[in-house]
């Protein structure tokens, strides 16, 4: 939320909150400005540098802005023991909403920072960049077999995710709670599914 008190000059009267003694609270051509608060459609930048570490500690995935978000572009780097394995500019505006990295260096990026119907709802890149899979939102919705409005209604941050995705106990599968169900991404094949019943570990706290 971005709200604050401001000073508004109306005619010859400076209004600061309600201290102004203007006779009408409005002026021709300025409209009924009686409240001196503003609210905006504001989206804070993500941190300029974010990172995720694989459960075994071998890989680190960095998502960085090289220009403190003067542009919308983010860059991803996969590092192994401090050495850059690969690096690429990401298509998501201001980077992904969430990301994680598997024990074999599989980078998984979810959604976009901006809460849009993303063409990159899920992006999987393995450590050698031989396996790359991208699922748009529509592909996710099709797998879920759930009306779009029902998916969006339950989402928290973005169009479909109910919370941050996580690796399961085997570290070979990513679980993402969505639409009251669980979307499963197999890191070995890159395939997604929505099994019934869903893995209990997919449930989000609360």
């Amino acid at each position: 939320m971005r709200a604050r008190a401001v000073a508004v000059l109306i005619g010859s009267c400076l209004i600061v909150d309600s201290d102004c003694v203007a006779s009408s609270g409005s002026v021709a051509g300025a409209g009924p400005v009686s409240a001196a608060t503003v609210e905006g459609d504001f989206v804070p930048f993500p941190p300029a540098r974010r990172q995720a570490v694989s459960p075994n500690g071998r890989y680190t995935l960095l998502v960085v802005s090289r220009d403190e978000w003067r542009s919308k572009r983010a860059t991803a780097q996969l590092l192994e023991a401090g050495r850059i394995i690969w690096e690429r500019e990401l298509p998501q505006e201001h980077g992904p909403r969430y990301f994680l990295v598997g024990n074999d260096g599989q980078a998984v990026l979810f959604d976009e920072w901006a809460n849009v119907k993303s063409r990159h709802a899920i992006m999987l890149i393995d450590s050698r960049r031989k396996l790359e899979r991208v699922y748009p939102f529509d592909a996710v919705a099709a797998i879920l077999e759930t009306p779009v409005r029902a998916i969006v209604e339950r989402a928290k941050g973005g169009w479909w995710l109910e919370g941050p995705p996580s690796l399961d106990a085997t570290h070979q599968v990513v679980l993402a709670a969505t639409a009251g169900r669980c979307l499963v991404l197999d890191l070995r094949t890159g395939d997604i599914s929505a099994p019934r019943p869903w893995p209990p570990s997919c449930r989000q706290p609360g």
Binding site: A3, G31, V33, V38, G40, D41, F42, V116, K117, V152
Partner: protein, 426 residues
């Protein structure tokens, strides 16, 4: 007021009632003065995108329609890049002379070091600033299509966390958590059903001082027969006392029919445009255009200040179906779906379809809100036009040699303005 309906619809989630998405009942509207900002020299102007179709669809759920007035231009380098709406909402910066019209500045940029400020507005006041560079480029150029409607909501008194806002699919929820439509098909009641309004929000915004009543005119053909040569259509102006009907156009193209006022081809047995039962207006107040054989559109123009609330009249004219020329004539059933466009003196215009059940065309049962007709700028009753181009707020003093030229230009402008004022009709 029909606010109970919109509130009930929001509570029950019946925005997608059959027929509502095709024709919505709109009984209130508000006007917006878009202000394009250019530099002091009148160049490097911002791109004004009001997302009018999306904004109209969003507010349809509240029975409210936006009417965007012609764009006002201000030449003010200082207003191109501003951190807040309060920097542009200063006296003499392009505001409408009508205090009930929302002033919306389309600025180049709203710089922020901590994020993207797409727009900002006074809560319960008058004034919106739209960050055009951010809004227009959002989502790979698709545009952040609900920022305009979101900021209007603030002027109506709605906040990010008040009146039930907060869900990802609510119009007024803060930008960091609101889901943004990628197309008009994502806006409620369709698709992802985004940009919803709660019942409390609808009640609040409908009570805003920016709202004006849509003039209510009906065209009734229920029970009419082709023998009704001067009273097939009954036109009634039932409410909207501050405005007048300027014109009404009947479009028969959707029902594959045409007007046949004379005995000349295509129909050889016509019946002319005739009126009857006039209440509150005279025959001489009505002029018809398009009443020619084969025409699919008939426009009735009304004299200024002639046709208003409480007035009514009947009329008839021969109408033939394309596939049955000089047959019995079109029946009410055959005219279901014909389009009726209403243009009012206060700037509002709407298009309605003839109902196949009530056999009424209703100016508040709206298929489309018509774009603002600039010809109405010369028709004052009830409408106050926005100002034109405004110069820089802090003009640079001219060189002495330029003063004479400026004086000449000013005289010419003054003369032109006087001529324009002299044309003002009654």
């Amino acid at each position: 007021m029909k606010s109970w309906f919109y509130v009930a619809a929001a509570v029950l989630g019946i925005g997608a009632l059959p027929g509502v998405s095709a024709a919505a009942t709109i009984d209130l509207y508000f006007t917006v003065n878009p202000i394009r900002v250019c530099n002091d020299a009148g160049a490097s102007c911002t791109t004004v995108n009001t997302f009018s179709a999306q904004t109209q669809k969003i507010y349809e759920q509240a029975g409210v329609a936006p009417v965007f007035l012609p764009t006002t231009q201000i030449n003010s380098t200082a207003s191109l890049s501003v951190p807040s709406v309060s920097n542009v909402a200063v006296a003499g910066n392009g505001q409408s002379s009508d205090s009930a019209t929302i002033n919306m500045w389309f600025v180049q940029n709203m710089p922020s070091s901590s994020g993207t400020l797409f727009g900002e507005a006074f809560v319960g006041g008058n004034g919106v600033a739209i960050n055009t560079s951010a809004v227009n480029s959002f989502n790979s150029g698709v545009g952040r299509m609900d920022t305009v409607a979101h900021e209007m909501g603030h002027n109506f008194g709605l906040g990010h966390t008040t009146f039930g806002a907060g869900g990802a699919n609510n119009l007024l929820t803060a930008g960091s958590t609101r889901s943004i439509p990628g197309g008009i098909g994502d806006i409620t009641p369709d698709g992802a059903a985004l940009d919803q309004l709660t019942a409390a929000q609808i009640t609040q915004l409908r009570s805003s001082s920016f709202m004006r009543s849509v003039p209510h005119v009906t065209v009734d053909i229920n029970g009419s027969t082709p023998f009704d040569t001067n009273n097939f259509f009954k036109v009634t102006f039932s409410s909207g006392s501050t405005s007048f009907l300027k014109s009404m156009t009947i479009d028969l193209a959707p029902v594959n029919a045409f007007f046949d006022p004379t005995n000349s081809p295509p129909g050889l047995a016509g019946s002319p445009f005739q009126t009857s039962s006039l209440v509150g207006l005279l025959n001489s107040d009505i002029t018809a255009s398009g009443n020619t054989d084969g025409s699919k559109k008939l426009t009735l123009n009304f004299a200024n200040n002639a046709f208003t609330a409480g007035d009514s009249f009947d009329f008839g004219i021969d109408i033939d179906k394309d596939n049955c020329i000089d047959c019995f004539g079109a029946t009410p059933q055959e005219l279901a779906g014909a389009l009726f466009s209403f243009t009012f003196s206060d700037g509002f215009g709407s298009q309605a379809a003839m109902s196949g059940t009530s056999f009424l065309a209703d100016s508040t049962d709206i298929m489309n809100v018509l774009p603002f007709d600039t010809s109405l700028l010369q028709t004052p009753p009830g409408f106050i036009p926005p100002v034109g181009t405004i110069g820089p707020q802090d003009p640079v003093l001219p060189e002495p040699g330029s003063v004479a030229l400026l004086g000449l230009a000013f005289s010419a402008l003054l003369a032109a303005r006087r001529r324009k004022e002299g044309r003002t009709p009654r």
